[in-house]
């Protein structure tokens, strides 16, 4: 990371070439690199390293496997616009095997995969999209005669890194929902070791891309949480950055779809929004490059928690979520605080009765003590008088 000044890169030929190759103005290309670096949470100066890496590094070979899935992850990547990501994908990485995008088919494409794996042994990225069926020896998903399990193990053996894209590859996702007839599992379970996971249904394409670019720039994966999710994208609850959060805090909720609160954009928590228990950057990264509000909650639908194992596809959409960061209290302080009641008839009379009884008892004790003292004094005086008489 020699250069830390992004603007100094403007005149460099590699940058000029790269922007031409990607079909975008040079400024836009640098802006894109700066956005990626910022999205990754990198320190100032890193954007120059990202730009240089994207422009000049050898494109990493990528093997992309598809199993039990809907291809939504690939589709969302193809619909990205900054720049047209299919161009970036094809240009920044060397996509050597991808069943959806390849023109070739059959044994030809399988051969391409094997050739690329041999040529980039230990250096290619393996991306897995879709869950892997494990029941009955994994026979429910086969490509070219090989089961998904065999393919995954074979490709992962010599990969520099394994990325599970989408919720299905991350932990099984929708196909693994009970009763899970095919025994769908995530990549980590099948390989028996942790992998990078980019959960979501579909995941935000920039989360995937930023992870790849980080790998390209620094030859290392970004910091991950305990579930293998990149921290730059999955360290915050949706609830924390939600644009409707102020309504939650103020207690303004949509109670049913289409009611007044829903039309006014109130919090969707009571409609079953899973934002309070789902970690993802949806409210800040948004979707589809279409501007503000373009994400599920922004459009008026509660978050279904698709990035969170145990929430997405398993909790019903209408079910109330568990608020993870700020549990609402059981009781709120009263708005009008009671200022106390004065003496009641009961308490005043009880106090008066006790005081009266104490005073009476005290008077009686004093009187008795006085009387016995008088008697004693009289006795003493009589004794003294008798003494003098004697």
């Amino acid at each position: 990371m020699a250069n830390t000044r992004l603007l100094q890169l403007e005149a460099k030929t590699t940058i000029v070439d790269a922007s031409k190759r990607l079909g975008m103005p040079r400024r836009d290309f640098l802006q894109f690199c700066a956005t990626l670096a910022a999205g990754l949470g990198l320190p100032p100066g890193a954007e120059a390293a990202v730009a240089e890496a994207v422009a000049s590094k050898k494109r990493p070979s990528v093997i992309w496997l598809h199993f039990q899935e809907c291809t939504g992850c690939t589709e969302s990547l193809l619909r990205a616009e900054h720049p047209t990501l299919e161009r970036l994908i094809l240009d920044v990485i060397s996509l050597d095997y991808h069943e959806t995008l390849f023109a070739a088919a059959g044994h030809q494409v399988e051969q391409a995969r094997k050739t690329a794996m041999a040529a980039n042994k230990g250096a290619y990225l393996l991306v897995v999209e879709g869950a892997i069926p494990t029941r009955d020896g994994g026979i429910y998903c086969k490509v070219g005669g090989q089961t998904a399990i065999e393919l995954t193990r074979e490709c992962a053996a010599d990969a520099a890194a394994v990325i599970a894209i989408g919720s299905c590859a991350s932990w099984g996702g929708m196909p693994s929902t009970a009763p899970n007839p095919t025994g769908s599992s995530g990549v980590a379970d099948v390989l028996g070791k942790p992998v990078v996971t980019i959960p979501g249904c579909p995941p935000n394409p920039y989360n995937f891309l930023a992870t790849v670019v980080h790998f390209l720039t620094f030859a290392a994966l970004p910091p991950l949480d305990e579930l293998g999710r990149p921290k730059f994208a999955y360290s915050r609850l949706i609830h924390e950055n939600c644009e409707r959060r102020a309504h939650f805090d103020a207690g303004r909720f949509a109670m049913q779809f289409g009611d007044e609160g829903h039309r006014k954009g109130y919090c969707l928590y009571k409609l079953g929004c899973k934002g309070p228990e789902t970690y993802a950057n949806c409210p800040t990264a948004l979707f589809g490059d279409a501007g503000a509000g373009t994400w599920p909650v922004g459009c008026g639908h509660p978050c279904i928690g698709c990035t969170e194992q145990g929430v997405g596809f398993s909790k019903p959409i209408h079910m109330l979520s568990k608020v993870k960061n700020a549990e609402p209290p059981q009781q709120y302080p009263r708005i009008v605080e009671e200022q106390g009641v004065g003496a009641t008839l009961g308490s005043a009379s009880l106090l008066a009765a006790v005081a009266g009884a104490a005073a009476g008892a005290g008077a009686m004790v004093a009187r008795n003590l006085g009387l016995s003292h008088q008697a004693a004094e009289a006795e003493r005086a009589r004794a003294a008088r008798e003494k003098t008489e004697v």
Partner: protein
């Protein structure tokens, strides 16, 4: 200074079942029921406490006043052991008994006033100590003093149970606990005054002064002697015994001396701070101030001379007056003249009053049971005079 030259203490004897103990038992049962309700349903369900008055009858009466009235043991020990007036030794045990119950019940009462009472054990756990808090000073001191007092009082039980060897061993160490038993109450009785100081402007100027720790300490010592006068006269009256005039007479004189100093400090402070004028305004608070101080002045009229102090009725009334004065000093500071702003009011609820009454009933019942069954009061024969034999 050994007890040998005095009449040895002996159990009073007699039945434990009489009208007084039965009434006490009923009051204690009522208290226990209310406390159960409080522990389950909270302070709001039983008390009239609010955000303006977070300390009500249970804290001010049961703890502040209860512990001050329980200073008899400390005051007499101060006289006997520090000023070496051995002739008062027979008064130590009965006074200590009153203190024992007063403090133990004050410690229990504070638990019921804690919002989260299940955390009460934090005061025993060093990790939870906030050593900068005056509340911690008071709480820790009172807890220690309760333990020290039970040790000080334990010879009574050891004698009764015939554990002479243990008694002999304890006697060698007892001086240490007696010393602690004088230092600890001096510390926390003064700190109770500090609590009033930290309440700041909510306390009426007639009671809000940096001298309050000294005032509280002096009044606690005076109260101790006042309670001994009261308790000796009541015990004599109830058990039909002779009043220990020979000891109470000079002790009352000591009390008058300290009380003179107390009044000097109290009024010098008021004049020095220039707030005495407020005591002459036509307000209910000014009236309460004068009743409080009249109670401290009254004993000078009641038991001024040696002759007057020979009359147990006068000693009794003087003791009652001093107790009332000490009670009012605390009530005035913390409740009557305590103003947390417009709108806030407090008057104890019926359950609060019943608990406070129950606590005092528990003290009376405990005193009766222990004096009737354990060697606390001096043996009667030593004082028996021909007229009473």
């Amino acid at each position: 200074m050994s007890t040998q030259q005095h009449a040895r203490p002996a159990p009073v004897g007699g039945s434990l079942l009489n009208a007084t103990t039965l009434v006490c038992g009923v009051l204690i049962a009522v208290m226990a029921t209310i406390i159960l309700v409080r522990l389950i349903f909270g302070l709001g369900a039983t008390t009239n406490l609010n955000d303006g008055y977070s300390w009500g009858a249970w804290v001010v009466v049961d703890v502040f006043i209860g512990s001050a009235l329980a200073c008899g043991g400390f005051s007499v020990a101060l006289l006997v052991y520090i000023f070496n007036k051995g002739q008062y030794h027979p008064l130590v045990r009965p006074a200590l008994l009153g203190s024992l119950f007063g403090y133990t019940l004050a410690g229990a009462a504070i638990t019921f006033d804690l919002g989260r009472w299940w955390n009460f054990w934090h005061i025993f756990w060093p990790g939870y100590f906030n050593v900068n808090s005056v509340m911690f000073e008071v709480a820790a001191c009172i807890m220690l003093y309760i333990i020290v007092m039970w040790i000080e009082f334990s010879p009574v039980f050891l004698e009764k149970l015939g554990l002479h060897e243990a008694h002999r061993k304890l006697s060698k160490l007892l001086f240490f606990f007696i010393a602690l038993g004088i230092v600890l109450p001096m510390m926390h009785q003064a700190s109770l005054g500090t609590m009033l100081v930290v309440m700041g402007g909510q306390v009426n100027p007639l009671w809000q002064t940096p001298m309050q720790p000294l005032i509280y300490l002096l009044s606690a010592i005076i109260l101790g002697y006042g309670v001994v006068l009261f308790e000796s006269c009541v015990a004599a009256s109830a058990y039909r015994r002779q009043v220990e005039i020979s000891m109470l007479n000079p002790m009352a004189r000591v009390m008058l001396g300290i009380m003179g100093f107390y009044l000097l400090v109290r009024f010098a402070d008021l004049i020095a701070r220039g707030v005495l004028g407020q005591a002459f305004q036509p307000t209910f608070i000014a009236l309460s101030f004068w009743i409080e101080n009249a109670c401290f002045i009254a004993p000078f009229l009641l038991i001024r001379s040696v002759e007057a102090r020979r009359n147990p009725a006068r000693l009794f009334l003087a003791g009652v007056a001093v107790m009332l004065g000490g009670i009012l000093l605390r009530l005035n500071g913390f409740l009557i003249a305590f103003d947390t702003g417009p709108g806030w009011t407090y008057f104890p609820s019926v359950p609060e009053l019943l608990v406070t009454i129950g606590i005092f009933a528990a003290e009376v019942l405990g005193y009766i049971v222990i004096t009737r069954r354990f060697p606390v009061l001096p043996r009667e024969e030593a004082y028996a005079q021909p007229t009473h034999s």
